[in-house]
């Protein structure tokens, strides 16, 4: 028998990856999510590029105003194309609305203007009409008062100015930050559960005894953690790549370069954060004796992941700065801060170092607990039992 063979941990890693990657549910899940990302991007693009054709009804008393709206509309929103439809009176206008021959009817009502629609208003149209009508009426009022619109509104504008970037960039950072946090949450939960149940599968079927007689259990743990980390990384890489490439085809293409850097940081933090949790997932699996126990043994861990999710979504300001150094929430908070900008070059490095240190601790503790709990048969094992168990 040859003694120079593949190391045990690598064999385990390979099996984990291979058995999962050839699993239909895994493949279908991945493809579905990619399709969803592409679909979402496509929809966003289509939504923002399509022109909104609106038929606006005008009774004789509102023809002038509607014409004014049509003339001024392109200056306000060039994606709204308004057509004038003349109707004889209010009754005809309402009939046209009911028959869906027109989308809205603009008319004066008790000294003001009213935009009547059948049941729901088109927000783009409402914004355009609102802006133009108020401008028109203000001009008239100004003329009546013997002044001009410009004189009246001088100095009333509040414009938003960003020290860094602009409003759209901030919005994009918000959305992408949300995606980062959510990706981490989903992957940590799904792959964690998967890892834990594969540990239970081995424990329950006692194949772990055959394995334990053949190789040190730390090799088994290392292989399982690595295998699932590789799988999670592959999946997240695919999503990030598809997301970035897809973004290049949307109106937000100019932000791709801004996001790419933070995306790389995100992947680095994801890796460290995932490994930190993966060992604990393996422990959760080893404490259970049947799949039904997993719910109970994994509760502390799911709580931690929930905390990471909420910290990632809700923290800002000073709290976010503190959290961005605090493992394991730093795994999502720091990439988010990098995305918003204004982070010194050394900050992510320190946070990543701390997270890696934390991961080293969980691996150390996890390995001990896993080894001791795995061989206990008959019922659930508590953390205390596992820690104090003899080997």
């Amino acid at each position: 028998m040859s003694t120079h063979t593949t190391p045990a941990w690598l064999l385990v890693t390979r099996r984990e990856v291979k058995s999962r990657i050839t699993d239909k549910t895994f493949l279908i899940g991945t493809v579905l999510l990619v399709a969803m990302i592409v679909g979402f991007m496509g929809f966003t693009t289509w939504q923002s590029e399509k022109t909104n054709h609106v038929k606006l009804a005008a009774t004789p008393d509102s023809v002038a105003m509607v014409q004014a709206v049509i003339d001024a509309a392109p200056a306000i929103d060039d994606k709204v194309d308004i057509t004038l439809v003349r109707v004889d009176d209010a009754a005809a206008a309402e009939a046209a609305l009911t028959d869906e021959e027109v989308d809205a009817w603009l008319h004066p009502a008790s000294g003001a203007w009213e935009l009547t629609t059948e049941s729901s208003a088109d927000s783009d149209l409402t914004a355009v009409v609102d802006a133009i009508v108020s401008q028109q009426v203000l001009s008239q009022n100004a003329a009546t008062a013997g002044t001009t619109l410009e004189a009246l509104t001088a100095g009333t504008q509040v414009s938003t100015v960003f020290l860094r970037g602009d409003a759209t960039k901030a919005a994009v950072a918000d959305v992408v930050g949300f995606v980062f946090v959510f990706l981490f949450y989903i992957a940590a939960l799904l792959f964690g559960m998967q890892l834990a149940s594969s540990v239970i599968e081995e424990k329950q079927s006692r194949i772990v005894e055959i394995i334990a007689a053949a190789i040190p259990l730390r090799h088994l743990l290392a292989g399982k953690v690595l295998g699932n980390t590789v799988l999670a990384m592959i999946q997240v890489l695919i999503y990030v790549a598809v997301g970035l490439v897809g973004m290049a085809f949307t109106p937000y293409r100019s932000y791709v370069s801004d996001i790419s850097g933070p995306a790389v940081w995100f992947l680095a933090f994801f890796l460290a954060g995932f490994i930190a949790l993966a060992c604990l997932w393996a422990v959760a699996g080893s404490l259970a004796s049947r799949t039904e126990d997993l719910q109970a043994t994994s509760t502390p861990l799911t709580m931690v992941i929930m905390v990471i999710l909420f910290a990632g979504l809700s923290l800002d300001g000073r709290a976010a700065v503190i959290a961005s150094y605090l493992p394991p929430v730093s795994a999502v908070v720091m990439p988010k801060r990098i995305l918003v900008g204004g982070v010194a070059w050394w900050e992510p490095l320190v946070a990543l170092g701390l997270l890696a240190l934390f991961a080293a601790c969980t691996v150390w503790v996890g390995e001990k607990l896993y080894r001791r709990a795995l061989m206990q048969t008959g019922g659930r094992v508590t953390l205390r039992q596992a820690w104090s168990a003899a080997e």
Partner: protein
């Protein structure tokens, strides 16, 4: 040779295995019997190093057993099951590789064994697609795969149909004939009696009997049964023996003085027809019941 010396395991205050010692000689099949909870599985897990021992040790070829020694052992745990959703050849190769075998060699051996158990056509099937008996066969193959140095099998025959029992027995005999020590536990005493060279009996964590089957059956005062043509009442007056049971011409007796049975036989022949004169050995089940009582 595999030697178990004073092996002890406690779970809390409960001593599950209490200073158990026995040998599993090379080339012999040793049956491990005892009631449920007698400590068989715990002992086997300690031999395999899957469970630590509180006291005592396991020796392999005279030296304390190492991880590397155990790696070369074939082990079949009590509860069955490999990976249900993995093709059988693939997982057999995986397990053999974990035990240090090269991939190609593992493939060849796994294929050979699958053929032998009539599963040659099903190498790509998922384990869960096989019948229970066939799953058991795969389990057996998994334990004997890397040309084992010793076999430690926990209830290898449970759940097998008679044909599978035969091919399993044949396989084990194959290994013992190559000089490999085999230790297996079982509840089926008839099977143990048929297959085993030696027997180890455990009761409540303690060793109550150990030895070859013949040794165990010859333990105690030798018993004979004599069947003669006429009434055998005269045997009661014969010296050097005790009558255990007497009915008409049939008598069961225990020999007190060695050689007394020869004198008795000569006397019986002198008196008339002798239909039967035979040594009565207790069945294994009787020894077992007595030992574990």
């Amino acid at each position: 040779m595999l030697e178990v010396r004073e092996l002890t395991r406690r779970f809390g205050d409960n001593t599950v295995v209490d200073r158990v010692s026995f040998d599993v000689p090379a080339g012999e099949m040793t049956g491990f019997v005892g009631a449920n909870g007698a400590g068989k599985t715990t002992t086997m897990r300690m031999i395999m190093g899957v469970l630590g021992s509180d006291e005592g040790q396991v020796l392999w070829d005279g030296h304390p057993i190492t991880r590397l020694d155990r790696r070369s052992f074939g082990y079949m745990p009590e509860e069955r099951g490999l990976y249900p959703k993995q093709p059988i050849l693939e997982q057999l190769v995986y397990i053999a590789q974990l035990k240090g075998m090269a991939r190609t060699e593992a493939r060849t051996q796994a294929r050979e064994l699958l053929e032998r158990f009539g599963l040659g056509e099903r190498t790509k099937d998922h384990l869960e697609k096989l019948s229970l008996g066939n799953q058991q066969r795969v389990q057996i193959i998994a334990s004997v795969l890397p040309r084992p140095a010793a076999l430690v099998l926990d209830e290898p025959f449970s759940g097998l149909d008679p044909i599978a029992v035969d091919s399993m027995a044949e396989l084990l005999a194959d290994y013992t004939s190559r000089g490999i020590p085999v230790l297996f536990s079982s509840h089926q005493l008839d099977l143990v009696e048929r297959l085993c060279d030696r027997l180890v009996v455990l009761a409540r964590g303690r060793l109550v009997a150990a030895g070859t089957v013949a040794e165990l059956r010859d333990v105690g005062t030798p018993r004979f049964r004599l069947v003669v043509g006429e009434d055998a009442e005269w045997v009661r007056d014969h010296g050097g023996l005790d009558v255990v049971d007497l009915q008409g011409g049939t008598v069961v007796l225990e020999i007190r003085d060695p050689g007394a049975e020869q004198i008795l036989l000569a006397e019986a022949v002198r008196r008339g027809a002798v239909h039967e004169f035979v040594r009565v050995r207790p069945a294994l089940s009787e020894i077992y019941r007595e030992a574990t009582a």
